[in-house]
Symmetry: C2
Subunit: 278 residues, 2 copies
Amino acid sequence: MKVIRTVSGMRAARRLMAGPVGFVPTMGYLHKGHISLVELSKKHNDSTVVVSTFVNPTQFGPKEDFDKYPRDEARDLAMLEKAGVDIVFLPARQEMYPDGFDTWVEVKGITDKLEGAARPGHFLGVATVCNKLFNIVRPQRAYFGQKDAQQVLVIQKMVADLNMNLEIVVAPTLREPDGLAMSSRNVYLNTDERKAATVLYRALLKAKEMKQAGEHDNATIRGAMMEMIRAEPLTKIDYVSIADTISLQELEQIHSQALVSLAVRFGKTRLIDNIVLT
Amino acid sequence: MKVIRTVSGMRAARRLMAGPVGFVPTMGYLHKGHISLVELSKKHNDSTVVVSTFVNPTQFGPKEDFDKYPRDEARDLAMLEKAGVDIVFLPARQEMYPDGFDTWVEVKGITDKLEGAARPGHFLGVATVCNKLFNIVRPQRAYFGQKDAQQVLVIQKMVADLNMNLEIVVAPTLREPDGLAMSSRNVYLNTDERKAATVLYRALLKAKEMKQAGEHDNATIRGAMMEMIRAEPLTKIDYVSIADTISLQELEQIHSQALVSLAVRFGKTRLIDNIVLT
């Protein structure tokens, strides 16, 4: 496994690659969810698997957790080596955002909602860094987790609108045995918060059950979910949403596909999760 | 010469190209300046020369000349065929901007000045369409004319900031025998306006002479240029600028390289021109 820290180095390595390149962009502090993306890339017969680990400063708001976002390069590299990754791209901030950097990729519309509404500027940073990484790595396929459902939609829209030459592959959310979605941010949780955090998936399953039992009213289902979340100590709801899976417009009545998503704070830690109702 | 009208057709043709691809993006209604870009591409041994002609609606303001911008497809195709172009990419508006399109590439900073200040949103449209065209055509080199000096800077900055994988080549402005820079918009001029328009280049040469004669003061040189332009009938100055060639910041004293640029209306027709003082 080769570790590359400069854009020019990554470009040079890319020029030598023959056959399809699979790419897994991450912010490091890897978990099994990330590794499942690597495995998917291998399953798709990508000749070369490239993983980037870069904690992207431009997708964090000024009051968010950029500085304390967990980092452990040695652990990440060991996990990626074991997973059979070919190249790890590990750029410094200055490599990605040199002095004077000032070009931004903005996906409008769907970024006004959910995470975009709660975290202004977040998707501007996400779209910009992914655009740059796609141009540097030039993969045939890039792999993202369904856990960040809106991020997937934003990236897919950017790729389509800007005619970028790659396929976005989405992999299912991996969960801990008690249902908590794997996330690098789970490490922030203390014992009580960790216990309370299981309510995220329980609330999502509640929505699924209610729909299956014939309930179609958004307000009724969301009401039941919020009641369940508020019954847990230490929780503060950012949003609970049942929306169209493409436009992210909130649905009044749920009759076809719907994205059920939520963002909840447990103490200082903000977690998100989602499921798709079919 | 092959004429391609769809993005998917252009992509398919691109996949078959071996060797370096040279690309000349235009808005059609071609003149010798455009053809000089094709010739430069051939001189650089580009294996395939692709020209796009697309009057890009997103770079025109609501009160600008999008609807009346001159178009003559048959004439353009004849000129390109004669120039030895391999592929003409001629997409319809709906191909480039399908319903729901909403992703934008914004170069900040230098776009606040000169043309960007006079034409709000212009460079958002320019950067976005060039980003898309570069992704569709995937050239090794793209050719632009120095006449649109700020456009060149914006595109170069976008390519650098977003790590796009191509070289931007800039070709000198071609001029009519009386000095008027070639432009598709010159066709708008009536006889009197056409005569008056020669003042653009004369004013630029005036700046050059004054600098060579030892004058370094921006205000003094610009004053002389503006006086010369105002002496012509039918003129209305949008701006006259002597600025840093990279930041486009107006210079107080001109001691090193400087971009002398101007935008002047002749009746309803707005023309721009520039020279670089060294």
